[in-house]
C-alpha cells in the first residue's frame, strides 16, 4: 500500500530496457549524440511546434532554470502560495535567479485565484525600481492539490500574464497525469492555451530521472545552454536521459502509465466515497487524493503497512480527532493495494 508519493515508485520496464540498450553503445557526450537530437526533435513533434528542450536533473532544477531564463532584476513571480517552487525547493528559484521573489497567491484547491492574481500584478504596475517588477506567472498542472486546470482556466491565466508582458510558466511535474485526465493534446494544454515555458516531468511517472525545460518560443532559450551548464545541470552522459524520454514518449507509453495512475486514484476515490471513516478533503482529478481520516483509522492504516503523508495545506476542515492526508498513486500502483486500503477504511 504505497501512497506516499509517485517519487517512491520505481521505473517502468520499457524505461529500463531503453537505458540498458543504450548502455552498450558509445555516443557523443553533453547532449551532442544522435539520440539526444532525435529525442529533441520528438519533443517538437509531440507539441506540434518547434520547441527548444533542455534535459536537467530534477524538477526543481527545471523550475529554477526556467525562471532564470526569463529572469529580470527585481523580478517577481506570481504563483500559488502552495506551489512546489515555494513549498519544496529550499529557495532554489530565488537562488538560481539571483534573487527573484516568489509571490504566493491564494486560490482554492491549489489553483490560482484570478482576482488575486490580477490584484497582485496591479500592485507592480507600472514597474518601479523601488518594489520590483513582474517577471513571470507560474501555474502547476496538475496542481499540488491534485486538481487540474481546464484549458479555459489556463487560457485566462495566460491572457493576464501576456497582457502584463510576462511569460506563463507551467510546472508540469505531473504533466502526464493532467493531460491524461483532460484527454487533450500536449499542444492544447500548453502553447495553444498560452503557456510559454514548461517544466516537463517524467521522473514521477515511470522514469529514473528525466526532467526537461521546454520553450515554445526557442528564441527565449538563447541563454539556456549556459544557464544549465553553469548550474551543474548538463549531464555528461546526457544520452541516458534521452533514452528514458525516448521510451517514455514512444507509442504513448507515458499516457498509458499516467492513465493507470489516475485510474488507481479513481478506484481509491470511489472507495473513499463509500467509506464512513474517511472523506475527500476536496475534489481531485489526477493521481493525488486528499482525504480527511479519523486519527485512529489513519494509525491503523499505517500499522497495516500503508504509506502516506500528513498534509497541512489546502484549507480543509479537520476536526481534532481527524487528520488530513495525501494519497498518491503511481504507474506501478496495483489494484490490490488500493483495495486493501479501501477495505481498511470501511
Amino acid at each position: 500500500m504505497h501512497f506516499a508519493s509517485d517519487n517512491w515508485a520505481g521505473a517502468a520496464p520499457q524505461i529500463v530496457e531503453a537505458v540498458a540498450a543504450e548502455a552498450a553503445r558509445v555516443g557523443v557526450a553533453y547532449g551532442g549524440s544522435a539520440l539526444d537530437e532525435r529525442v529533441a526533435a520528438r519533443f517538437s513533434e509531440l507539441f506540434e511546434c518547434e520547441v527548444a528542450v533542455f534535459f536537467v536533473a530534477t524538477g526543481s532544477a527545471a523550475n529554477g532554470l526556467a525562471m532564470s531564463a526569463v529572469g529580470c532584476t527585481g523580478g517577481v513571480v506570481f504563483c500559488h502560495e502552495d506551489c512546489h517552487m515555494i513549498e519544496g525547493e529550499c529557495g532554489g528559484v530565488e537562488f538560481l535567479t539571483g534573487g527573484a521573489r516568489l509571490l504566493g497567491l491564494p486560490g482554492a484547491a491549489g489553483k490560482l485565484d484570478i482576482d488575486a492574481l490580477e490584484r497582485a500584478i496591479a500592485a507592480f504596475t507600472p514597474a518601479s525600481e523601488h518594489n520590483g517588477r513582474g517577471m513571470a506567472v507560474s501555474l502547476t498542472q496538475q496542481s499540488e492539490a491534485g486538481t487540474v486546470y481546464s484549458l479555459e482556466e489556463i487560457r485566462r491565466v495566460g491572457e493576464i500574464a501576456h497582457a502584463n508582458d510576462m511569460p506563463l510558466h507551467m510546472d508540469g511535474a505531473r504533466f502526464a497525469n493532467a493531460l491524461a485526465h483532460l484527454d487533450v493534446s500536449p499542444a492544447a494544454m500548453t502553447w495553444k492555451a498560452g503557456v510559454d515555458i514548461l517544466s516537463f516531468g517524467a521522473t514521477k511517472n515511470g522514469c529514473f530521472a528525466a526532467e526537461a525545460v521546454v520553450f515554445f518560443d526557442p528564441s527565449r532559450a538563447a541563454d539556456m545552454p549556459f544557464l544549465r551548464k553553469r548550474a551543474g545541470q548538463l549531464f555528461s552522459k546526457s544520452r541516458f536521459v534521452a533514452a528514458q524520454f525516448d521510451a517514455y514518449l514512444r507509442d504513448g507509453l507515458w499516457l498509458e502509465l499516467a492513465r493507470h495512475a489516475n485510474a488507481m486514484a479513481g478506484r481509491l476515490r470511489a472507495g473513499l466515497a463509500a467509506s464512513n471513516a474517511a472523506r475527500e478533503a476536496w475534489p481531485t482529478t489526477g493521481n493525488e487524493i486528499f482525504a480527511v481520516l479519523r486519527r485512529d483509522n489513519a494509525k491503523s492504516l499505517r500499522t497495516a503497512g500503508a504509506e502516506f503523508h500528513e498534509w497541512t495545506r489546502g484549507g480543509a476542515e479537520v476536526a481534532d480527532d481527524e487528520i488530513l492526508v495525501r494519497f498518491v498513486t503511481a504507474f506501478s500502483t496495483r489494484p490490490d493495494e488500493v483495495d486493501a486500503a479501501v477495505e481498511m477504511l470501511r
Copy 2:
C-alpha cells in the same frame, strides 16, 4: 576507435543490472531509502573513516557544491589554471558560491607548482577586505593532463592549505584511474594525505550518472543538505544513484574498470613509443594520453573513424605541421580499437 572521452562510453553491465533490479522496487524518495543509507555507510567503510556523502547530478555540481560548503565572502580558490573548474564549468563555481574567484596557477603537466601556490597564497595573507581571502585549495586527481599526484605531492599541497587555514579539495572525476595507478587505499590518497573534501566521480568509469561529494570531516557538511537541494541537485529517486554506486563499489568493480582503462592507455602509449608518426607530448600515467601527431596522420586517423579531441593546453612543443591531441580510454575500450589506432600511426 573511441578515444574522444570516457564520457562517451556507455555503462558497465553490473551497473545496468543494479539499476534494473532497483526499478522493480518501491522506496523512500530524496535519499531516505535503506539503499541510500546502505551506500552512504559503504562510503565510510571504503574510506576507513566516518564520512558524509552527498550524491549529485554531475561532476561540475560536485565541485561547485563542495566549494559552496566551504565558501566565504571574498573567497579565492587556488587551483591549477587548466583545471576543470576553470576550463569546463561555465563559471559554475563562481555562480554556486555566490562569487568566489578561481585563481588559476601554473604547474607542469597539470599539477600545481608548489612555489606558485605558496606565492599566490602569500598575496592574500593576511586576509584583507580589499582583495579577498583564501577559501580553499583544489587539485585534480587524476589531473586534466593525464598525470597523477604522488601521495607525497598531495601531502605537500595539503600542508600548505592547512597551514593557511584552508581545506584541500580533490576533484576526483577520474579518482578510480588515479587510485588504480597508485595502487594505494582510498584513505591513503585522500584524508590520510590531507584531503578534506572529495568530488568522487563514477560516471566516467562505467556509471550512467553517479557523482558524489565526500566530506572527511562530516561537521563541515552541515549546510550541504540545503546547498544541494537549493541547487536542484537532490534527486527524488536518489535510490537509482545509490544503486549505481552500490554495484560500482561492490567486489572492487570500480577498480577493475579503471585498471582496464589504464591498461588500454598503457597499450596505446606503448604503441606511440614505437611510432615514428607520433610522440607523447608529456608522460602520463592514467587513462589519458596527450600526443603530438603529424597533421596528415591525424587526419587519416579521423577518416578511418577514430574519435579524439585536439588539445590546446599543457605547453607541449608542436610544429606547424603537427597537432596536439588527447586520447582517452575507458572501461569499455577494446584492445583491438587500440591496436587499430596504433597500426595506423606506424
Copy 3:
C-alpha cells in the same frame, strides 16, 4: 508644505559644519581614520555595550547586509508584509543574501501580529532541506505605518525569535523618531529588549547619507568587513560619514531633531482631529501620519503646493470620494507649514 518624505529634507546645519570641518583635513581612507574609530567607540557608549558598527550608503544596504551577515542557505526572514525590505528595496535582501526569502506577515498598523509570527515560524520547524529554514525575524521601529512598538512588544518578538534560534533585526530607518517617542535609552529599545542587529538610520533625520549596521554581539559581525566591501558599500572617504554621525550624536542633536519632527507631526495630528475634511486612518505616534481625505480636499491641498504621497497599504476604510495619504514631517518642518496645511483642511 513639505510632507512627502523625510527623505526630501535637507541636512541640519550642525551636520553641514562637521563635514565642512573634516573636508579641510587629511585622514586615513576606508574607515581607518581616528575619526572613524572615535565614532565607532561612541556607538558603544551610546548603546552601553560593546558593539560592532559598519557605515553603509543607504538604509537598504544596511538591511541587506544585516541579513547577509546572518544568512543561511534556504533562509527565510519573518517580517511584516508592508515592511521596507519587501515593499521598497527592489529585491535587495534577496539579492544581497544570495536568495533568502522574505516572508511577509500580517499585523495591524504595521506591527507584526504575534500569532501570525508564531504560526509562520512553526511551519519551518523543524528545519527541512525541502522548504528551507528560519533565518531571522525583522521588525521596523518606527514602523512603516507610523506606529511604534512598545518595549514589551519588542521583547515578545525577540523571545519568539530567540526561542527559534533566530536573531532579531530592527530596521531603524526612523530609529530616532521612535526613541524620542518612547523616551527610553537606545539600549532599552534594542539589545535589552532582544534586538541583535540594528539598521541605524540617520539620513532621514538630518544627515546627508549616514546609515550604519550595528551588531550588539560583535562576534556575529566577523564577516561584515568582507560583505560590505564586496557589495561596494565601503566608502573610501568613510571619514565623511563618521563626521555626520559625530555631529548627529553629539549633545543629543539627533533626539532634538527627532523630537522636533515628532512635535510637528503632533501639531498636524491635532489639526486633523479638529478637521471635518480629514481624519487619521489609524493612530500614529512618530513623524508619520496617515490620513483619509476627501479627494477634492487633497487636490486643493496639492494645488496650494503641499507635497504628500498617496498610500495603498494599511487597510483603512476609504470611500470612493476619499483618498488615503501619508504626511511625513522632518527635522526641518516649520510650524507655519503645518498650520497652513491644517488651515486648508478645516
Copy 4:
C-alpha cells in the same frame, strides 16, 4: 607629506559650499530632484552626446554595476591583472554580476598588452557553454600603475572588444587626472575612442563621495535603475551627490584640481630624477609615482612623517636593500610637502 592616497584627501571648498547650500533646501528624493536632472543633463553636455548617468556610492559599486549591466551567463571580463576590480574590490564584480569571471591579463606598466588580450579572447571564441564567453573588456584610465593610455591605445582596445561583440568599459577612478594629462575632450577619451561605459570617479579628486556610471548608449542602461536600487546603491538624498558633481564640473573645477595634483606629481618626479637615493620604477604621467627607494631612506622618510604605501606589483627590479613605494598626490597636495620629501631623498 601626505602621499598615501588621493583617498586620504579631504574635499575641495567649492564642493563643500555646494553641499552646504543644498542642505538648506527641500527636494525630491531618489534622484528625482531638479538638481539631479540638471546634473544628468550636464553629463550629456560634457560628453557631447546623450548619455545615461547613474550616481552610486563607491567606485567599486560603479565598476560592479557597470559589469552587471552588460553581464551574461558564464561571462568573462578581460582586464589587466593588476586592475582595481581584481586587486581591490573583494570579489565585488563577481558578486554583483552573479558570478562573472575576471580574467587578469599581463601588460607593462598597468596597461593591457594587446597580444595577450587577443589571445585570451580567442580562447573563448566561439562562445561555448563549457568554458563561458566574453562579456566585456575593461581598462583603467589612469591605470593602477600611474600610466595613461593614449587615444590610439584606447581605440585599439575598443576595436578588439567590438570586433568580438563586447563593450569596452573604462574604470575612470582617476579619469580627471588622465584627461588633464592628455589634454583632450572627455568625448575624445571615451566614446569617440570606443568606450561604451565609464565609471566616472570624482571622490579621489576633491569630492566627499561622488561616483557615477555613464552609458554612452543609454539603451544599454535599461536595467540600471533596478540594478542600482537592488544593490542598495540608490541614495535617498541623491541631491547631495548631484550637488557635488554640479560644483565639480562647473567652470572646469575638476580639471583644475586634477592639473594641480598632476603638477605636484611632476614636481616630485623632477625631485626623484635629481636624487641619488631613489628612482622612478617606471615612467608615469598622472598623479601617481612609483619609486624604488633604499630601505633606510624610506624609513627616514616615514619617521619624518611622510605617508606612502609599499607596492608589490608592476614588475620593477628592486634590490634587497630597496623598497618599491607608491606616492600619490591629490588636489590638496601642497608644494612644500613635495619639496620637503624631495629634500629628504637627496
